[in-house]
Amino acid sequence: MIGQLTIGERQFALVMLLALAVIGFAIAVAGRDDLLGGHGALVILVALAGIFAVIHGYYLPAPSEQRFERYYDDPTKVGIIVAMGWAVFGLFVGDWVAWLLVYPELTFDAGWSSFGRIRPVHTTSVIFGFGGNALIATSLYVLQRTSRARLPDQLSPWFVLFGYNLFCLLAVTGYMMGITQSKEYAEPEWYADIWLVIVWVVYFSIYLRTLARRKEPHIYVANWYYMAFILVVAILHIVNNLAVPVSLGHAKSYSSFSGVQDAMTQWWYGHNAVAFFLTAGFLGMMYYYLPKRANRPIFSYRLSIISFWGITFFYMWAGSHHLHYTALPHWVQTLGMTFSVMLLVPSWASAANALLTLNGAWDKVREDATLRFMMVAAVFYGLSTFEGSFMAIRSVNSLSHYTDWTVGHVHAGTLGWVAMITFGAIYASVPWLWKRESMYSARLVEVHFWLAVAGTIVYVFAMWNSGIIQGLMWRTYSESGTLAYSFVDSLVAMRPYYIARAVGGLLFLIGAVVGCYNIWMTIRTAPRTAGEAVSAKPDSVLVGTPALQPGE
């Protein structure tokens, strides 16, 4: 890793790591009476580990000029491995949380392991740890291929990858220590948020600098989605996290917004974290890996334009459907509902574009579990976007809101769509990256596929059942005109479904562990060769559509 950096980059890396160590020291001193001090110590440790690694490799020979002829894939390789690590950790914690709802005593009489603290550990680990690392890793891979240009330098991708994982680490350890803003999916406190902004700016600069050197006149559709992901997540993150810290020595901060304005801002963020983190980014992944694996060009270029701008525009209005019948003004609720329903059009256009791309390649879908992962992902994307639009209708929401139905819906999207497209993309790219004909074991990919599908279906059906039963029990009246069930009655009715959900999650977790083993064995048996040459020719699959030919 260090051997690939130029001497200048090694020096700059040392300067940055020293600066990070100083910042960590400052945080540790300023926050010595607060939980913040622990995070200062963590930052120092990370910086020292980095300094040690750079010094250890400092006198390695400088990289040769030939590196410019090859794509720079090592950050992608590390990113994929790290993503799989977060997947197993996050799914494990998720399943633990699920069992806590069945056996509430599994908390060791301690704060760090109680439901409220480790539930965000689960969500952050899977969304940001697994999903985010997979997005960074694949985006750097896709960006280079579709631009036919190498990454601009060797240092910035490592800064983004490690900096981002430092953010995830601060987030997850913080929750267990008791540091949280309580804003769902934006729990990390102010200092971690500022750090993420810095990482994100560098991430986007890699994108712009690589695009500036592209040899392909058109920016491929996958990059539109990755760019929308980076840009809009930056906007959402900065606005929703505006806050005033208690002092520079406190981890705690108070949000700039309160009450109804905070609720709207939070769900504008929350829903669009789903839109631009868990949808746009992974659509970018889909638009590259699915056509490549199927060896078929994207079905329709025009459909991809319509769905891209439709998603970018409509999604940002939809957040208020999280606040139906609340103290949020009625007109905002109605706008949110309307745009949520309209959102079905670009969503299904994307799903249809993916599935129709497979026309002529369905024999491969049957034989190749990797491609089948991506196909099932597109199906779940279509299903969960339909469900989402449906649940955003005010009268449906009156039943579904606050219940497990929402949890089921989210997991149909995250397990069925996000995780499946990611596993598909990872199984496709691991042999490409490590120069193997195929994965170590196609059978194990098949095993993983069926575990993932079974786990998702068990999970989602359990939550549909529990959610709808809950919603109905809460609103059922007896003949005498009083509420028929107490809250505890509904809680007791949930128990079998909570067990089923935890079992479904366990199946999904086992699948991910099988995937890790398979990836590890593929890497271990891989020959040591140079990276893939920067291509002189446009990729025939990606520019194969007739619409792109004229004018070239």
Binding site: A228, L231, L491
Partner: protein
């Protein structure tokens, strides 16, 4: 349209600006007016701020992630109003930075739980939920009774939340640690300051049943007991609540 796009997708900066522009519209239209239209939040002259002890309790509620299972937002639906009480008004959370409306009811809504149960019930329930409710799946929070509440930074906490718009006075900030202690020690000289700063209706009692020591249990119970009781606005007829 597609011809235009065909040119647009050849320009990285053009694409960037187009994405930012298209994505910004929804948020601007839906969020900005909430700060400018006065009808968004009702008037409630009787609304009071959280005492330092209640604020500390609220921060414990946040720290422990209580919001991930309990909402604090009663919707305008008949069954919710009958189960939990009058539907929530925007003004009731206007000092909540951030709001804790929640999104999931694994447990019941807490928007109006204040005063519904005794302090003893809350302490017993938090120590071991299954002791008072055998079917409960809530985690036990027994360590709260064993943990002393940090009060030395309460002045700084109040100052920070004043910076984002909650009207704490200099007097309240200066006396924050003493007020926190006094609210849970009714016989101490500090107790007087609490009612002086926050009104005669403020709960002043040993919330965890032990007057001498100030624990996190005191703070959390004090917070739970004030939920829904910062103002009476929600209990008045709709016409009487000014907008």
């Amino acid at each position: 349209m597609f011809g235009f796009h065909y040119r647009l997708e050849r320009k990285a900066i053009g694409l960037v600006l187009a994405i930012i522009g298209v994505a910004s519209i929804g948020g601007i239209v839906e969020i900005a007016p909430l700060f400018t239209i006065h009808q968004t939040v009702e008037q409630a002259p009787d609304m009071r701020v959280y005492t330092p002890l209640e604020l500390a309790g609220r921060n414990i509620y946040i720290r422990e992630g209580c919001y991930s299972c309990h909402s604090q937002m009663i919707r305008t639906l008949r069954d919710e109003v009958e189960r939990y009480g009058p539907y929530s008004l925007a003004v009731e959370s206007k000092y909540d930075h951030p709001m804790l409306w929640g999104s999931k009811r694994t447990g019941p809504d807490l928007a109006r739980v204040g005063g519904k149960y005794s302090d003893e019930w809350h302490v017993a329930h938090l120590n071991n939920p299954r002791a008072v409710m055998p079917e409960s799946i809530m985690p036990a929070y027994a360590w709260l009774s064993r943990t002393a509440l940090r009060t030395d930074d309460l002045g700084a906490q109040l100052k920070a939340i004043r910076a984002v718009g909650v009207p704490y006075t200099d007097d309240m900030i200066a006396n924050a640690p003493a007020d926190a202690y006094g609210q849970a020690a009714p016989d101490s000289p500090d107790a007087e300051g609490v009612t002086k700063h926050y009104g005669a209706a403020t709960n002043v009692r040993a919330f965890d049943g032990v007057p001498g020591s100030l624990t996190e249990m005191d703070a959390l119970v004090a917070y739970l007991q004030i939920l829904g009781r910062l103002t009476d606005a929600a209990h008045k007829p709709v016409a009487a609540v000014g907008r």
